[in-house]
Symmetry: C2
Amino acid sequence: MTSDTTSSSPALAPPAAPDVTVAALGEHALVERIASRARLSGPHVLVGIGDDAAVTRPERGAVEVTTTDSLVEHVHFRRDWTPLASVGHKALAVNLSDLAAMGAVPQSAFLSLILPAELTVADFDALVGGFLDLATAARVSLIGGNISRSPGPLIVDVTAVGSVRQRRVLRRAGARAGHELYVTGTLGAAAAGLAMFEAGRRRGDGDAVFDACFDHYERPDARWRVASVIARTGAASAAIDLSDGLADAARRLAEAAGLGVVVEAAAVPVDPGARAWAETAGRDALAFAVEGGEDYEVAFAVAPRQRRKFLAAARRGGHVPVTRVGRFVAEPGAWLERDDGRRNELAAGFVHF
Amino acid sequence: MTSDTTSSSPALAPPAAPDVTVAALGEHALVERIASRARLSGPHVLVGIGDDAAVTRPERGAVEVTTTDSLVEHVHFRRDWTPLASVGHKALAVNLSDLAAMGAVPQSAFLSLILPAELTVADFDALVGGFLDLATAARVSLIGGNISRSPGPLIVDVTAVGSVRQRRVLRRAGARAGHELYVTGTLGAAAAGLAMFEAGRRRGDGDAVFDACFDHYERPDARWRVASVIARTGAASAAIDLSDGLADAARRLAEAAGLGVVVEAAAVPVDPGARAWAETAGRDALAFAVEGGEDYEVAFAVAPRQRRKFLAAARRGGHVPVTRVGRFVAEPGAWLERDDGRRNELAAGFVHF
């Protein structure tokens, strides 16, 4: 954000009318609205919003982990389905999920907003508020960004930076044959939430178990807390996040290591909401959990002799369960193994583009 | 870029037909097309494209400078005016200009592309090629990014990271009364280029001096070389880039220091192309140079006793002239001073949003 934020006092007050547009307010006032509400500094921030660029002093002995991801209206979200506060939350969460998959602790973020001129300031505040609430919870300093006008969709593009000791970076490659595949949380709720939207369901239509699916789809948690604790112990040999689903993640971990992988169907922690919606709609709950995208959980490869250390770290890392869902094998390929031992090839990943 | 780039060989060959669309080729193949052509590693890159996030080891004793900026179709460029190779070039250049304004040497970049589904692969290659040619020239490693589909405009969002010693960071605040205002290069050509497009002129319509204006508008240089040499000497007390024009930059440098600034009209290095177009079109060349945006030159505040050191550093930094265009004064305000001593208030900056 190149605007000077030292000049006047921040616009904390609500806009004169809720339907004032962002175009009418102008870029500088919008930047001040953000700066007045954001955590702008942290131990490593030397220059934040208000100069030509941000300046950070990297942590001694640590390396920097950086990722970028966007949410595009009509592609990744619909404003008639998802409140803008949730869009702001998710835009940061998907990036924190990538940091989690590297074992990094989030530190700072850059927020690039491409805004339709007719967006109201109330909507802008909701969008930014959702982003900043998660940033505050994750102790992420917002130290830069950019606001442009969009002649079409609303776009939120985020770059997030985290920190980890070099020898504790969780790479995608690193599994060995015999290592076990673990995932955090439960799977399939985000895919079920999307399917429910597509089927015309809305929040409040049914019971709380359905609303939990909307929550998973719209406001994913990112697992940086548990993942960074696990990374610090060195108990995992590789990791990836589940942005494109378990099948995709398992296949990529295996391919990166020149291995194969077997996912055990009975072990997959299918989310209760996904199961409930699958029953209601006559869909396959396991498909939501294995092939569905956007769960933003993390998958780890763990050597058997590290299992105890891994599980202890996961317990210390928070209230997120971790579940063993499969194993890496020498023979290249990716399979879903049923209870009776039958194997099918794992489905391809969830396609965003 | 979360796609795995280790799987198959890069698609160096041109697409089967030039009108194959990016949607038909798919995200993974697009990422491979980029990875096959990019400088992916550098002395500080530990993990580049192909994992969940990039990992960098910051330079010892240096701080990191990070900036992000986007180019949005129909707002910042038009595909019927500007070749996509130039759009790719400019998307990186505007970010390198922000790094220049902090005195940082560029090191790495993240490229986030939001692409209309019907964009051809030939257009994609041109866009990426323009970005990568400048990245190669600037020794910038492309270490991450993201590709999304756009339901509307083509958007190129870039995050660039550079390095500088902490005590050599060029802040926006730092000028003192009596310091002089310098700029690199000549001013007004980009604004004249835009005005020429708007007047229906096209490249090749006139003389080479006009085409130079199109070049300045479409393919700005960024002044990181000279700016980083100047920063290393400590000869400048503050700096800012001219993305929003000289008037805006001078005013911001002054405001950040709680000062005023006087720009001396006769000293402004008006670009010859801007002068030629102003004469042809009956426009004011000085207005192009003072109020016009997008020159992407850098303005410096320099103490008189540092002048000799500053000029020597500028000479060592390359073939870009630096020109003294004004001075900082104790009285707050921003003025344009004519030859006869009359002063007008400086115009407001160029508005992007």
